[in-house]
């Protein structure tokens, strides 16, 4: 009697195992793959046109995908996730040791390094709270000055005064905010090379970050990193 029961049990187990084996290839591989997703940071680019059509373009790129894909591209100056510049000829910076400049910036205290107040545009390069900031304001149209990232009241007053003096006619305002860790990673490859993949890794580790903001009469451009996979959830408009 016990033997019969045991045989029944073996038969049932065999049946279940056979069924499982039969069904296993039918389970879509994507379902399995989704559960093993890695880094979930996304690079978002949003362009909103101010014209009557109101064109909006949103591009969302998972950083993990970019990290994997870039090393596979070997075309022109991009190889193994690194961009090689021939002595920075294309950047018209021949003879300039960018690594030395970067070291100097890294080791210096927060503050403004470059301030250019021209007739056509104002340029400001600064380091603040671990970020490298570049602000460019063109002055040939209406002014779009955000006045953020200024450290103290005097600076803000000064900036507002300059804006007023410029006739509040800036046509575009560009803000670039790059974490110093990302800058370090970009220049970690060696001389005359930018390690894009290392930069992306550093960016992913940085968390939610606003990178670029451009605002002019025609377009508003925003580039940022966060962990959301749709732009609508992020409050994309500033």
């Amino acid at each position: 009697m016990q033997i019969q029961n045991s045989l029944k049990l073996v038969r049932r187990v065999s049946l279940v195992a056979a069924t499982a084996l039969l069904i296993s290839p039918l389970v879509p591989s994507a379902v399995v793959a989704q559960s093993t997703a890695g880094s979930n940071q996304w690079l978002h680019v949003r362009v909103v046109s101010a014209d009557s059509g109101g064109e909006t373009v949103c591009v969302n790129v998972p950083l993990a995908l970019a990290e994997k894909v870039l090393p596979a591209i070997n075309k022109n100056q991009l190889h193994n996730g690194k961009i090689k510049f021939d002595k920075f000829d294309t950047m018209d910076a021949d003879g300039v040791d960018l690594h030395a400049i970067l070291d100097a910036v890294r080791n210096s205290k927060d503050g403004e390094f470059v301030t250019v107040n021209g007739t056509d545009e104002d340029v400001r390069v600064a380091k603040q709270d671990g970020f490298l900031l570049v602000h460019v304001t063109e002055k040939s149209g209406r002014m779009h000055h955000h006045g953020k990232d200024l450290k103290n009241h005097d600076e803000k007053n000064s900036s507002e005064k300059e804006s007023a003096e410029a006739g509040a006619h800036a046509v575009s305002h560009v803000e670039v905010k790059v974490p110093m860790k990302v800058v370090d990673a970009l220049f970690s490859a060696g001389k005359d090379e930018l390690d894009i993949v290392a930069g992306l890794r550093a960016l992913a580790a940085q968390g939610d970050t606003e990178l670029v903001s451009v605002k002019d009469e025609e377009n508003t451009v925003r580039v940022w990193v966060d962990s959301k996979n749709t732009p609508t959830q992020t409050g994309a408009t500033r």
């Binding site: 039918l26 879509p28 994507a30 793959a33 989704q34 909006t56 790129v61 995908l65 994997k68």
Partner: protein
């Protein structure tokens, strides 16, 4: 009577397993609707698993030139597809221009392209596994270098 029931059960079981196997990679879907007189209306639903089989049957010479041109981008495409398959349902590109709307997204392990326009709508859904299979076939055909294979 019992024999008939057994045959019916076997037939139904075989049909169910065959259908499940055929549709295991999902469905490749193409819908095109042109909203004008004599406009085209295409609605194509194809088992994704059938696409590589069909491609295997096509003589390689028919796509060997395209394969050579795409050769250097094949590893990139393969990696991109694998990484896309790991994503949850996501919007990759969205363009809105007046009444025109373009959306490229991933949905349940497939890439989805939706174009909505006052004059036409196009919807394409292709499982990423199918794209990977197709790119593998193209890669193999380049590697073998046998146009008649």
């Amino acid at each position: 009577m019992i024999m008939l029931a057994k045959v019916a059960l076997g037939f139904a079981g075989t049909l169910a397993v065959t259908s499940a196997y055929t549709f295991r990679e999902g469905v490749m879907r193409v819908d095109v609707d042109e909203y004008r007189d004599g406009g085209t209306h295409v609605h194509l639903w194809l088992p994704a698993a059938a696409v590589p089989m069909v491609m295997d049957a096509v003589p390689r010479r028919h796509f060997i030139e395209a394969a050579h041109q795409a050769k250097e981008w094949m590893p990139v495409a393969r990696i991109a597809i694998r990484e896309l398959a790991k994503l949850p349902d996501s919007t990759l590109v969205e363009v809105q221009d007046g009444h025109e709307h373009v959306l490229i997204s991933t949905q349940n392990g497939a890439i989805k392209i939706d174009v909505t326009d006052p004059e036409e709508t196009v919807h394409v859904l292709c499982p990423l596994a199918t794209i990977e299979d197709v790119s593998s076939i193209i890669e193999r055909s380049v590697a073998s270098g046998d146009p008649g294979a």
